[in-house]
């Protein structure tokens, strides 16, 4: 059996990749994908711990995270479309009429 530390390491790498993506990319959709990567790194950790503890709650948590992520993406894409319609761009540096 693969020890749980390996999964922790892998998920930490995935989480960092996602966080770096959020910080360095400027395209809203790519930022969203990076956020999904971060969520999935947490999912991986949940499943790994659930197997290590032989408990189900971690796996159920993953179900909920997945459905919530789907809802978040649906809302997110809708908002991105709305922003694109008013501003003709989804580059987050150019979406900045609110300042002060």
């Amino acid at each position: 059996m693969v020890p749980v530390q390996y999964f922790v390491g892998l998920s930490a790498i995935l989480f960092t990749l996602g966080a770096l993506g959020v910080l360095t990319r400027r395209n809203a959709i790519i930022i969203f994908m990076s956020i999904e990567l971060m969520l999935n790194s947490a999912n991986l950790l949940f499943v790994a711990f659930a197997r290590a503890f032989e408990a189900l709650s971690g796996q159920i948590f993953v179900f909920f995270v997945m459905t919530v992520a789907a809802a978040e993406v649906a809302v997110g894409l809708a908002l991105i479309v709305a922003v694109f319609r008013t501003k003709d761009t989804i580059n987050i540096d150019e979406v900045s009429s609110l300042r002060g």
């Binding site: 948590f61 919530v68 908002l79």
Partner: protein, 479 residues
Amino acid sequence: MQANTLAILPEISLAVLAALLILIDLRLKPERKALLPGITAAGLLAVLALTLAFARPGAAPESIWGGMLRHDTAAFVFRLIFLFGAAVTCLFTIGWKQVERRGEFFVLLVLSTLGMTLMAAAGDLIMLFLAIETASIPLYVMAGFMTADEKSTESGFKYLLFGALTSSVMVYGFSLLYGFAGTTDLYALAAAVASGDLPPLGLLGALVLVLAGFGFKVAVVPFHFWAPDVYEGAPTPVTAFLSTASKSAGFAVVVRFLLAVFPAAVLPQIIGVAALMSVLSMTLGNSAALAQRNIKRLLAYSSIAHAGYILMGVAAASLLGAASVVYYLAVYLVTNLAAFGVVIIYFNVVGSDEIKDYAGLSRRHPGLAFALLVALLSLAGVPPLGGFFAKILVFAAAVEAGLIWLAVAGVLNAILGLYYYLMVLKVVYLDRGPDEDKPLPVRRAHMAALVVCLLLVLALGTVLGPMYDWSNLAAGGLF
């Protein structure tokens, strides 16, 4: 089973209300859609009455639905706060052109309220996550609801990006906590933490990740960047809801998590973190508010500052601290709703949120100007209004916990805050405006909501007893 069902009566009735609103919206003739805000407000008030009548917790806190929820006074008092906030928000949406005839908006409002009530009652990490998202996702849509308006869509978009990012960080923190303790039940987690077997540094790391998510909900430094932009761009009724009910929901979770699950006795570093965030939020919020020309941005920074005051009660990490948080949130709810109510009424007539356009308000409509006066003075903490006693409570909690420097910082900040609230009142009362002789019509529903809020502001500052008792019971129910 029956007692369990009765305990979640507010949640069940909110879900039914949301489903009914969808169906009503589909059947309602277009010319009668203006009834929607009224129907929703009546429904929310009915849920409030049901909660008061049937969903009162017993003396001892209970775990229900397999530990998913807690049935205690904290959850009960916070439910009342959210339901009241949502109902008043509904009344203030009357007359907001792009929103008042859209059934979806009110469905989202009810669903968000449902999420908040679950946040206050959550006794399990799974339920907590689900509740936070149920409260947040509708708010993203509501902030960006005016799709033709550049500022509104941008506001919703920014809110969503920050929200999604912080919630993914929070879930990662949850997964680490699950890994340390092997359970998702908050109170089992608390027992595991209290046993001292878990690595303190690891716990602290996971806790910092989780705090990112909570900090976003309550808009404290350093997770506040979204607040001014989102508050300014969102439809003002949504801003009012965000700054009151949503913030209270965040604090409901923060007090339960930091006081019940991670008691300071086990992780003393938490006090330092909370105190630091508190002093930074107060100072940054108040000093940034000084420079604002837009009233919504000013109230946004003021709400960051108030989150700082409230965190002071959290940093105290005591029964009095928790009670002061609940009391402060109740006062802040009615006060800020009143302030935003005036902003909404004025915007509906004048079409501007700039502070300079408030010149001459006192001559144009003395009643409205007086409402703004009471609301802003209560925010500033002037006796005999609710804000004064709430501030006294958090300062007392900080002093009792030995955080005297924090209380001093709070007092200095309150003086700073008084200055910019008075600057707004100076424009309202002393400056002359061009339209002073034009009438300023105020809808009856708006006036009623405003008067109720103001009476409560006054009551919470003078008749302290009932709410103070509830706050204490709520604080006791957390543990």
